[in-house]
Amino acid sequence: MEALILALTVFVLAIFVGVEIITKVPPTLHTPLMSGSNAISGITLVGAIIATGSPTPLLTTILGFTAIVFATINVVGGFMVTNRMLGMFRRKD
């Protein structure tokens, strides 16, 4: 139970942090914000790596492997495409 409350605390506080900074992102950057947040939501890769690398039955390994593939697409695709888009935004010279 204690672990649950602790996790809940972290969850709620992080939401406040998220709301605080994301409301400051200008509409011009809303598309990169979405692709960039996609990239970081690929953090499930961490869970997938632990599930896949642990000595577990084959079914779990396959589930973990599939999760790694999807999460890595998110991470690599998300950061790269965001970088590509942001590189296009320039000031008036």
């Binding site: 998220g18 509409p27 979405m34 960039g36 953090i43 790694i68 999807f70 697409i73 950061f79």
Partner: protein
């Protein structure tokens, strides 16, 4: 092998880098650096996970990272800027499904170890992650199909009770799992019901509502990751998932406000009440619409000093952003002051127009938000509407019984003269005529966005 505290410290550093990275996105100048900090955070988190003492073998991990990394890199470098909504839809879905799979794998492992003694926190958050992740995955695939033009809007009677039933079934499987954690089938039953729910939720939703749907699925993918974090008691997942969840939710609410619709209203496909006494196309347009040739428009622009361009989805469809840029350069070389007015829901996702214009080398300080530009239309000589319709319909302001009544619009009609580049007088998503097209000060150029912009530019050059 590293001690747990060290790995958890690495996760904390990663989370800090994500937050600082998103903070970088608050300004275009710092955004590239912010994104790179986020990527660095991810690298740290991944290396830390690999050094976890539970990880004993690396073959599958490396293979998965190579396959996923290659697919991701190809997608990111190949995708056209006009197709960015599809790309984001897919990424939302992939994030959702990977969280579901991780939660499923963790449940299987825990049950194999502890049998029926698995903690309640574990099963409940596992069920939550599975439910939200599967809805996100299938919903996003449908959104992708719609954006790509593979599937149309499929509306059916009883969508609401069907969705309610599917949700109840999924929740029932979740409760079963909480009571008997060894019932693995209940988890897969839940995934099945949630998958159907994801499909039936997004199938009826129309194209112009896509900005809301994509933002919401973005939020869901974060929630699924956070729930997976509860399963694994992993703070990196919880913090990051809630950041993404918050981000998607904020965008969703901005999109809903910009359409003057409530979220349930969009989700359940409840359109605004049909206005029985509404004017038909004929009443609005007959004898009043003035069509013009590119030469006349060029002549009109020769005397203009300020021009505001209003891009819409039509610009994306005809890939007109480069032609528009050329027109802008031509106007600027004549000393005309040009800016862009961007409605929050122009296009198919938040910020869609800005990315297209940035791709065409339009500086970001030339792109103006609705609240910033609206007071300036009265001093604008010419407003050029390119492939936009409902977001410039003055009926939203003037007719309280219109389906779009109260929706904030760009006050294009206040400009001295208005040019609308549009293929025909066909209605926008709201399905209503637009009095702007028949207004005294409006000239229509019936053409595809790209051809229209090029024609005016060439006429300007020759004239």
């Amino acid at each position: 092998m590293l001690p747990d505290w060290f790995i958890n410290l690495a996760y904390l550093i990663a989370a800090i880098l994500f937050i600082v990275g998103i903070k970088g996105l608050t300004h275009p100048r710092t955004a590239v650096r912010g994104n790179r900090l986020g990527a660095l955070g991810m690298l740290i988190a991944v290396v830390a996970a690999m050094l976890d003492r539970q990880v004993l073998s690396y073959e599958w991990i490396i293979a998965g990272i190579i396959v996923g990394g290659a697919i991701g890199a190809i997608m990111a470098t190949r995708v056209q800027m006009t197709d960015m909504p599809q790309m984001v839809a897919l990424l939302n879905g992939f994030g959702g499904i990977s969280s579901s799979l991780v939660a499923g794998a963790a449940l299987l492992t825990a049950v194999a170890l502890d049998g029926a003694n698995v903690a309640l926190q574990f099963t409940i958050s596992g069920a939550a992650s599975g439910l939200v992740g599967a809805v996100t995955f299938w919903g996003s695939l449908v959104a992708f199909g719609k954006l790509q033009g593979l599937i149309g809007d499929i509306r059916f009677r009883g969508a609401l009770p069907l969705n309610a039933t599917l949700l109840t079934i999924a929740l029932a499987f979740g409760v079963w799992l909480a009571i008997d954690p060894t019932a693995n089938w209940a988890y897969w039953g839940l995934i099945g019901a949630a998958s159907l729910l994801g499909l039936s939720l997004v199938f009826p939703i129309g194209g112009a509502d896509m900005p809301v749907v994509i933002s919401l699925l973005n939020s869901y993918s974060g929630v699924a990751a956070a729930a997976a974090g509860f399963v694994l008691s992993n703070n990196a997942l919880i913090i990051t998932g809630s950041l993404v969840g918050a981000s998607g939710l904020i965008l969703t609410s901005i999109m809903c406000k910009a359409m003057n619709r409530s979220l349930p209203n969009v989700l359940f496909g409840i359109g605004a009440p049909v206005d029985e006494g509404a004017a038909s196309d004929d009443e609005v347009y007959a004898g009043k619409v003035k069509s013009a040739h590119a030469d006349e428009l060029a002549m009109m622009m020769e005397t203009a000093r300020s021009v505001v361009i209003v891009p819409g989805y039509g610009m994306a469809v005809s890939q007109a952003q480069h032609a528009v840029r050329d027109l802008v350069h031509e106007l600027e070389s004549r000393g005309v002051e040009v800016s862009f007015a961007i409605h929050p829901v122009a296009g198919r996702m938040p910020g869609h127009m800005n990315v297209l214009l940035a791709e065409a080398d339009i500086p970001y300080d030339q792109m103006k938000e609705m609240d910033e530009i609206n007071p300036l239309f009265e001093q604008t000589d010419v407003a050029i509407v390119i492939g936009a319709n409902d977001v410039v319909n003055p009926m939203a302001r003037t007719n309280p019984s219109s389906p779009i009544a109260g929706m904030p619009i760009l006050n294009v009609d206040k400009a001295r003269s208005v040019i609308v580049i549009k293929r025909s007088l066909s209605a926008g998503f709201a399905g209503i005529p637009n009095p702007l097209f028949a207004a005294e000060n409006t000239l229509m150029l019936f053409a595809d966005a790209k051809k229209g912009a090029l024609d005016i530019m060439n006429a300007l050059k020759e004239g």
